[in-house]
Structure formats: C-alpha cells, structure tokens
Amino acid sequence: MSQEIDLTRIERQVFRDSYQDGLMEILTGVLLVAAGITFRTAPAPSVVLLALFVLAPGYKLLKKRFTYPRTGYVELIEEEPKDLLRGMLTFTLIATAVTVLILVILGELRDAAGLYRWTPALVGVVCTGGFLYAASKSGMARYYGFIVVSVVSGSAFSILDFESWKTGLSLHLLVVGGLLLLCGVVIFCRFLRRHPVLVEESPDVGA
C-alpha cells in the first residue's frame, strides 16, 4: 500500500490547490507591469519596495479574505531561503550563459550595442526560472505557456530593435505582466464562482 503513496504527487496536488485562486499570477503581473512602467523613471529598488511592503501584505490579506474561506487554510513547507537564492542564482547564471552563447554563435554580439539590444530576450529567458519553478511544483501546464510567452516576447522586442533598448525591455515587461494579470483576474473570477464559502462547523476533534 505504501508503495502507492506518491508524496510528490500529493505535494503537487496541495501546491496546485493552494495556488488555484490566480492571486499569484495577479501579484506577479502587477509587479512586472509596475516594473515596465517605472523602469525608465523610478529607481529599480522602488519595485522591490512595492513588492515587499504593498504586494506581499496585500497578497496575504486577499488569501485570508477570499481563498481560505473557500478552500480551507494550508501552510506549505517553505524552502530554505538560502537554497532558494542559490537555485535562482544558478539558474540565472546558466540561462544568461546559454543565451549569450547562442547570440555569439548567431553573430549578434559583436559590440556592446548588441548586448543592450538583446537585453529584453535575456530578461525573458531569466524570467522563465520562476515559471519553471511553479510548473515543477504544481505540474500545471499554464506555466509552460508563460515560459513560451516570456521567451517569444523578449526575443521579439529585441529583434524589433527600438531606438533605445529600454523601450524594448519596458514593452516586454508590460506584455508578460499584462498577460499574467489578465490570466490571474480570469482565474480568480472563475475561482470565486466555482468555490462557495465553506464554514467549519466546530468538529469534535480537539474538544
């Protein structure tokens, strides 16, 4: 019997269930759109501050208000921040190296201008790390779709070769962020419609 206890499958089911509300997509979408808008005007740390002091508490509040009354409360086992950071840095380094290598082979990196021009593509590839992580944790196909969009959008805005590379990067962040936001809102509305609020009648356990 125990051989059939597939803990990875159960973990995926729990992860999928707790992220089925679309709030994570909304949060990431808002963050990327904000980064796309403020990229040329505000200093980069402002987006980090927005994430830490507005979006993270807002996310918890929305979860408490809309998700837990419908699906029940669950606290997932979080990975060690050290391991998470190491994983992110390793992925970023590998993704950057592979992208640069491909661009060198294609003859697109003859000078610094070439590197700037392909920044949106590089950011697009690096962004796939987050989606890959979510896909591996949940097994949900939509994250693979976001990976494709991120790479295609980044490459497209690099190929279009705007006057400033910053324009391409801003547009890339707006497209990917906008798509995430839109998907998140649709998923969230569907979630609210499909899942009525459940009230726990005081169970006998622990009485």
Binding site: M1, Y73, I77, V199, E200, D204, V205, G206
Partner: protein, 109 residues
C-alpha cells in the same frame, strides 16, 4: 530453516506495522499533513474527500496516538481547527513507509 519459516521471517515487519497509521483514511490524512506545515479541517476534508464526522473521528484517533496536534481558534469570528503532524507523527509515518516498502518491495512480481 524451512522455506515457510524463511518466508515468515521476511514478512515479519508486517506484524510490526503501526495499525493507527495503517488504516487507509488515517494514512491519507497523515500523507497530506506530512507534505505541509499545517492545514485546517476544511482543507483536509476537501483533499481527502472524507465526511466531517469520519474525518473528525480519524483525527481524534491520530490525536490520541500523539501523531497530530490540534489547535482550535477563531478567525474573524469563525471557528478554525488547525492541524499539524507532531514529530512523533512524522517519525511514525516515515517508519510505516519504510516498513511497507521493505516488505512489499521484496515480493516478486
């Protein structure tokens, strides 16, 4: 040693299986609690598909065995029963898994 004795010895770990964990509904509850830090009653009810009374009864058995810790609180004036596996419960679940894998894994197809 006869073949029967040898076979019996190989299956000996089955008789040592923890019966509190072995019951399918409780095993399911423990498996869900094993992969999370904590979860409430509603979450477990949805995930396992057990009825309120059934889940409540199995949780009581797990609580009595010291495998599950139960915390009752009110959130926005609504009751919430939060559950998590105790260290003892985690060890019991791991031991159960190892034992079953050991026994069933050795059997021929």
């Amino acid at each position: 040693m006869s073949a029967r004795e040898g076979f019996g010895q190989a299956l000996q770990p089955i008789s040592e299986v923890d019966r509190v964990v072995h019951e399918p509904a409780r095993l399911m509850v423990m498996a869900f609690l094993y992969v999370v830090k904590s979860a409430d009653f509603i979450f477990l009810m949805r995930q396992t598909g057990l009825t309120r009374g059934n889940l409540s009864s199995h949780l009581s058995k797990l609580e009595n065995a010291g495998y599950v810790a139960v915390e009752k609180k009110f959130v926005d004036k609504l009751p919430r029963t939060v559950l998590h596996l105790t260290d003892r419960g985690r060890t019991a679940f791991q031991t159960y898994r190892q034992r079953m894998i050991q026994v069933l894994g050795d059997l021929p197809d």
